[in-house]
């Protein structure tokens, strides 16, 4: 009951966030006209919005795709974080710990420094490839480490991920050093932004998102079993290594899709799953979908602030997620601990 309530509440928050976001922005569109224009999009409803062609373009080509992209990216980052945390049975893991962010950063930097001439789509593609490569190298390093070593595989994989992440970050700095003129461009990308999000970007990553989210969701029950221990999981007929490999691959794909649109946005993958667990308990069957809904709502709200607080200028979204997310997170930790004890 509480779980259903939590999911429902998260869905309501997401819808409310999206609606609020649709009505505010630097362009100062008339709210009545916006409402009419949105209602006009509902099938069989015919309303003339009174928006000028430019205002109509602002709403439907700039503001709405940005909201949808924000929801998608936020949902992917949060479910990825939750998935990794399940795989590693460690609440502090997310894409950042496994070489995915560092790999994406290296890919994007290489694209900006060396491949700028190949067109504007190069950076997201390079970030996507880099993110997958980062996790791939980390996984490979982890496997090599755990077959030769004596420690348990999960911890080794995590340590390998951190080492690979540091290595890739150093490589990224080295590449950046070759062309200091693009420092600002690279820096902006590393901070993350949903500026320039378009329907085309959303449709480009939608297939990868759908596949990866489906795979992660289907493994929710296995992640619950893994949480009691590998021995128990084996006794129940589950092969932990296979589950881990599958979920890691799906999470890598989901994170790479998100990163391709937004650049690096920290914090969402750690705090949202935490809040989800605090609210609805540890079962991944709830934590995964709740994280996805919560992450989507959280990032839509954060991006709304990013593009309105200093309008017509913008704040980097990573700044907003951390500035609001960190205190909110501490507040949630405090509040729930008091209830639990």
């Amino acid at each position: 009951m509480r779980k259903a309530l939590a999911l429902g509440a998260a869905a309501v928050v997401l819808i409310a966030a999206a609606l609020i976001s649709a009505f505010v922005g630097a362009a100062d569109l008339n709210p009545v006209n916006v409402a009419a224009a949105l209602a006009g999009e509902i099938p069989f409803v015919h309303l003339s919005s009174g928006l000028s062609p430019i205002d109509h373009a602002v709403l439907f080509q700039i503001r709405l795709p940005r909201i949808v992209a924000g929801a998608l990216v936020g949902g992917l980052l949060a479910i990825t974080g939750a998935g990794y945390q399940g795989v590693f049975r460690n609440p502090l893991v997310d894409s950042g710990t496994l070489g995915a962010s560092a790999g994406a950063g290296l890919g994007a930097t290489i694209a900006i420094v060396y491949l700028g001439g190949l067109g504007p789509d190069v950076v997201p593609v390079a970030a996507f490839v880099g993110s997958l490569a980062g996790v791939g190298i980390a996984a490979l390093a982890g496997v090599i480490g755990s077959t030769r070593g004596i420690s348990n595989g999960t911890a080794t994989l995590l340590l390998a991920g951190i080492a690979v992440g540091l290595f890739l970050t150093a490589a990224q700095t080295l590449v950046l050093q070759q062309s200091t003129q693009v420092i600002q461009q690279v820096y902006e990308w590393l901070l993350g932004s949903l500026a320039g999000a378009s329907w085309a970007q959303v449709t480009e990553i939608l297939p990868y998102s759908a596949v990866s989210v489906t795979v992660i969701m289907l493994h929710a029950r296995y992640l619950d079993v893994l949480s009691v221990g590998d021995e128990e999981a084996r006794a129940l007929g589950i092969r932990p290594a296979v589950v881990r490999a599958t979920v890691i691959a799906a999470c890598a794909l989901a994170a790479a899709s998100a990163v391709a649109i937004s650049g690096l946005i920290g914090f969402v993958g750690i705090i949202v799953p935490h809040v989800a667990r605090r609210v609805a308990g540890p079962s991944y069957r709830v934590v995964l979908p709740l994280s996805m809904l919560g992450g989507a709502g959280f990032l839509v709200l954060a991006d709304t602030l990013a593009r309105t607080v200093v309008a017509p200028s913008e704040l980097p979204i990573g700044v907003v997620t951390a500035l609001i997310g960190a205190p909110a997170f501490i507040w949630v930790l405090r509040g729930t601990r008091a209830v639990a004890s």
Binding site: S193, S198, A200, S313
Partner: protein, 342 residues
């Protein structure tokens, strides 16, 4: 066998090797320092023999003391070996006629063609590498990485000529570089010529276009612009153009604020200037701008007033500034005609 007995001589050996190496290094260092003077005197004779050329610096003006952002800099004699770490300073030097004195320029300096390009870097300068060119004057855009202090120890004067924020500042830098290199007269000629070209463009295109608004695109995704507080804004303002970025002219953004996309579109600029169209610098062509979702209805897109400026001319505020002004003037003329027609 006692390992301690064994290790003592090894340690002594190691220490003596290290000491010997240090001594050798010190000797190298001092010999490099002393050999510098014969080398430079040899080179000075080369310059003296070329003094018949009209480009020879006028020796009478030295020693000269000029005032820069990092304090007073005294140059004792006409500099014979100049190192430029700034592409703008390089263009200034050659325009002023100091080209023959330039021995090395940084990796981003590429104009005029044939400059002695090296791997020197102006944003993270390597003092030793610069000193390797035995410079008698170094010009850079910023004092970073201990550049001024480091070269001061070697007795090399450094002129810091930062990115100009106004046309007047750009002229002043051309003039100062002229004075510091012994070409003050030619610098004045360069500046007079620039002023005349700019005045002609202003006269031709007109200075009362307050009905035209423009968006100056420094970079896309995210969109960075330039306000009227920048040299770009100053030039566009001379034609009377209205800058859509001026609403965010906060001190913190230094004249280059980030704009949210929907604000740019809702502002309906009549002209869009691109300084991010070089392949290595964003690659935003007019076609790409026109195809951005939601931009199709903008007056600038409809009237084809998306102007791809030469990124280098737009980012170096030196002797080629009149080219930038001319490009803006041409855009103003055609946008004015388009808005009159519609």
């Amino acid at each position: 066998m006692n390992p301690l007995k064994h290790s003592a001589p090894v340690a002594v050996l190691a220490v003596s090797i290290a000491l010997a190496a240090l001594t050798a290094l010190t000797a190298c260092g001092s010999s490099a320092g002393s050999s510098a003077s014969p080398a430079s005197s040899a080179r000075s004779s080369v310059v003296v023999s070329a003094s018949a050329s009209t480009r020879a610096p006028s020796p009478g003006a030295f020693p000269i003391t000029v005032k820069t952002t990092t304090g007073l800099v005294t140059i004792s004699a006409a500099p014979k070996r100049i190192v430029s770490l700034s592409p703008t300073a390089t263009e200034d030097l050659y325009a002023d006629g100091a080209g023959p004195q330039v021995v090395a320029v940084d990796e981003t300096s590429d104009y005029p063609p044939g400059v002695p390009k090296t791997t020197l870097n102006g944003t993270s300068p390597n003092i030793e590498a610069i000193a390797g060119y035995d410079p008698s004057l170094v010009i850079a855009a910023e004092d970073t990485g201990g550049l001024v202090a480091g070269l001061k120890k070697l007795g090399v004067p450094v002129l810091i000529e930062p990115a100009a924020a106004t046309l007047a500042a750009a002229y002043a830098e051309i003039e100062q570089i002229g004075q510091a290199t012994g070409h003050a007269a030619q610098a004045d000629t360069v500046i007079t010529g620039m002023e005349a070209q700019i005045a002609a463009d202003l006269k031709k295109a007109g200075t009362t276009h307050s009905d035209l608004s423009y968006f100056w695109e420094v970079s896309a995704s995210p969109y960075y612009s330039a306000t009227s507080q920048t040299i770009f804004g100053e030039i566009a303002g001379m034609f009377g153009l209205k800058n859509i970025a001026d609403k965010v002219a906060t001190a913190a953004s230094g004249g280059y604020p980030e704009l949210t996309e929907e604000y740019i579109v809702a502002s309906k600029p009549q002209i869009i200037f691109l300084t991010d169209n070089d392949p290595g610098d964003g690659g935003q062509t007019p076609a790409i701008v026109a195809a951005r979702p939601g931009w199709a209805g903008l007056p600038a897109v409809k009237n084809h007033e998306i102007i791809a400026l030469n990124d280098d001319v737009a980012a170096r505020w030196g002797p080629r500034l009149p080219q930038l002004v001319a490009a803006i003037a041409a855009a103003v003329e055609s946008a004015s005609a388009a808005s009159a027609a519609s």
